[in-house]
């Protein structure tokens, strides 16, 4: 019965649902996991690649994590081609803002513009929605470090830790359990940052822990992962997309949480 109302994005079903949007979200739940964890000194983004083959030239291939701007890095889950279009458009939007105001675009505004675009495809034109969810990690001088999740419907929200893609509900519950939630609200004249008690080290550790629980292969390796962090260096945002050697180093460093004590 649902079939009658699912072939066009621009109409509601009798129960008030947009099936195409829901189907897009379903597609994403089969895509490679992306995890983001916010700490007081930065944000960690980790992603599982799904296209793995010995023939792939992986060092030159970005599948999941992309820099949007000097101050924003995003992980994508879902249709790669759809993701590429949205990444290109976001990059242009961010640069046009820089041209207009001579100042980096605040993270939330970039995410909002991206989401407004996605929403358009659920209401006008009769074209299908983008089958992509984003985890956008960024820094700006007003709100500090922020992590946003956005979905094909064009909804977005700010998170301390989030996960999209395969096994996301599993990951989300582990994050909820393990994330050190006691926070100090740091008030300033215009700064509305909420400091969490997580350090970058805690965040990396937690990310590795969650990855090991949600990724199918028993052993994590740099072949299957993309990693990035955004921190501050000399008061300016610094995005670091890890090389495979660096990923191996991280995995080695947090070995203890990856291999649980009771398994050999």
């Amino acid at each position: 019965m649902a079939r009658r109302y699912d072939s066009r994005t621009t109409i509601f079903s009798p129960e008030g649902r947009l099936y195409q949007v829901e189907y897009a979200m379903e597609a994403i739940s089969h895509a490679g996991t992306v995890i983001g964890v916010l700490s007081k000194d930065g944000i960690v983004l980790a992603a599982e690649r799904q296209a793995t083959s010995n023939l792939l030239e992986q060092s030159l291939d970005n599948e999941k994590i992309y820099e949007m701007n000097d101050n924003v890095v995003a992980g994508v889950a879902g249709h790669a081609a759809d993701a590429n279009t949205l990444i290109n458009q976001s990059r242009a939007i961010a640069q046009r803002y820089l041209l207009k105001y001579d100042s980096p675009m605040p993270v939330e505004q970039l995410v909002r513009r991206l989401c407004d675009m996605k929403q358009g495809y659920t209401q006008y034109g009769g074209l299908r929605p983008f089958g992509v969810s984003f985890l956008c990690a960024g820094w700006d001088s007003t709100f500090g470090f922020q992590l946003y999740q956005s979905d094909p419907a064009g909804n977005y929200s700010s998170w301390k830790a989030a996960c999209i893609g395969e096994n996301y509900s599993n990951a989300q519950s582990i994050l909820k359990q393990e994330y050190k939630d006691e926070e100090k609200e740091e008030a300033g004249p215009n700064v509305r940052t909420v400091g969490s008690q997580m350090t970058m080290d805690d965040a990396l550790k937690l990310t590795c822990q969650v990855l090991s629980k949600t990724i199918d292969t028993a052993k994590l390796s740099s072949k299957k992962l993309e990693f990035a962090t955004i921190t501050l260096k000399a008061g300016k945002p610094f995005i670091h997309v890890y090389t495979s050697t660096e990923i191996d180093e991280v995995l080695k460093k947090y070995e203890s949480v990856i291999k649980p004590a009771d398994s050999q």
Partner: protein, 197 residues
Amino acid sequence: MDAQFAISGRDFVISVTDKGLRNSILKMKMDQDKTCQLSSHTFMSVSGEPGDTSNFSEYIQGNVKLYSVRNAQDLSPSETANFIRGELADALRSRSPSQVNLLVAGYDKGTNEAALYWIDYLSAMAKVPFAAHGYCGYFLYAVMDREYTADITLDGAKALIKKCFEVLKTRFIIDYSDYTIKVVDKSGTRVLSQDEL
């Protein structure tokens, strides 16, 4: 010809414009406010082609306000000045250029610094410690060059402005009777009367 000049210290900007609206041989209005408030901590003084002045100011004012409302935060003075310059530059090579000269003054609440930007009708922009537009510059740069220091206080700037008024009164052909004097600092924008200088 309008008097339009401004002086900035580390944490304040003080701007002066005359209040006269003259047309040919007539004094049409002698209490005209030639400044345009853009946000709580940024404003600009405007001179140039009558009509273009109000049109351009209102356009900028509306857009700056729209940004604040949309994004729940104000543009900083630097962002505002760059935006204004961009709009003026786009208009310049279009069907409808605006012949306006601006001084954008503001206090950046993020960096806790004051900023003054000089923008002319060809949309050249410079961040400056003090500046003037129009004929008054010929007289006032001499005074300001001599007296200005980077750590000037608000009282020092007020004294400097009094000297500027003296020079204009002595040597400039137009008799300016009244001025709009505005200060922007950490607590926002306020108007000073000539007696308060």
